[in-house]
Symmetry: C2
Subunit: 208 residues, 2 copies
DNA sequence: ATTTTTTTTAACCACTTAGTTAAACCTTAC
DNA sequence: GTAAGGTTTAACTAAGTGGTTAAAAAAAAT
């Protein structure tokens, strides 16, 4: 049991570099990130970066992949499941806000880097992880046909849901100023949104 | 009348530089933008940049200010007006989506640059232009008290509205992939949202 | 012990960056 | 004309940039 080779966060140099890179890339983006700063934060020499990770590009790509793999699968699982629609919406919002609360940098990182290098993402990083919305669309249509919810185009519904979940994290600093909140109040506000967004959406879907 | 000094888009060097800087800064952000590229796009020598605009920082700041002044005032006017709540919501969504459709880069530019240099924005650029939500909040509370809409915290309502308007522009490339749309389809989709978002919100606010 | 392999380092390279300089080029005024 | 002003340029600088190299230090294998 006291074997030092068990794996609770084995703090190898390679990992320290990766963690430092993760910090710097998420805070400053590909362009703003400097290899020297990553080296400094990892407490090592700059040449070591290139020993473990051939190039900035490669290092960046691994960080990006890790970030996407942290967020996408859980969300994808919910949206592609066969849960009844209302339960699915509840779960989706809860899962999404939980995950992002723990890694608030994720949405802005993904979005701004997609905007600067679309090819890289769609060719290399995202391919299999992107959720398929077909099941969700079919469910919405069925519930409309059954008179359980009012008519709505499922594409707009899903964009509305994702918007309300993701945007507050993306626009955090602006919202803080707009609503005059401190960091603590904002955390509570975002936590509240799990309930508020769910209520808002289900209320909107009530049949006429 | 044939006076060359009338002002329909007088294409002075200074302006050409500013336009080029505008393009480059909005596409690549402060870090990604290079003075050389701005000079090239303006069709002039790099030294001219520093003749007209002292530094990259200064040039950036002017571009940023121009962008904010293009978006904020109209939005602010609507939200601070005394229009009845429902009409205000309709106008807000229409105005927002119209403005952003014509300048789709605005939300992501503002947000990602705020996240990288919060001081700059809140100290120097935004100060007076940020909308005051108090009037809106009071209206929401009044309508709730009068039983015209269901109970909702006005802070969440306003964040919901802004989210649904802004996010689709910010996440455009991801939405395109997610929903399998071409550029044309996406344009139509975003135009549709003026109606769809309005309907969605008013439906949600219907009293029980 | 001594080879061999993996880690780590300091010093360096070629290139790009924002920003400067000093001289030439225009206009326009006198 | 020519003097004065603003405008434009090519050539440069100093400080980064990502990335390499060759050799030392440490660990592992024999």
């Amino acid at each position: 049991m006291d074997n030092p080779e068990t794996h609770p966060v084995q703090d190898t140099t390679e990992q320290k570099i990766f963690e430092a890179a993760h910090e710097v890339f998420t805070q400053k983006g590909m362009d703003g990130a400097k290899m020297q700063e990553i080296a400094d934060r990892a407490g090592i020499n700059k040449a070591l970066l290139h020993y473990y990770y051939r190039s900035k590009e490669k290092l960046y790509e691994m960080v990006a992949r890790a970030i996407i793999n942290k967020a996408m699968p859980a969300i994808r699982q919910v949206i592609e499941s066969e849960l009844p629609l209302e339960e699915k919406i509840r779960r989706f919002i809860g899962t999404y806000i939980d995950i992002i609360s723990q890694n608030p940098y994720i949405p802005l990182f993904i979005i701004s880097e997609i905007n600067k290098h679309p090819e890289r993402f769609f060719d290399a990083i995202l391919p299999a992880t992107l959720p398929r919305p077909e099941v969700f669309f079919r469910q919405v249509e069925e519930e409309i046909a059954a008179g359980k919810i009012r008519y709505i185009k499922p594409q707009h519904l899903i964009v509305n849901i994702v918007s309300m979940c993701a945007f507050p994290f993306i626009g955090k600093p602006m919202i803080r100023i707009l609503l005059g909140m401190g960091p603590g109040e904002l955390r509570i506000f975002l936590e509240e949104r799990k309930y508020e967004v769910t209520t808002f959406i289900l209320a909107s879907l009530r049949p006429e």
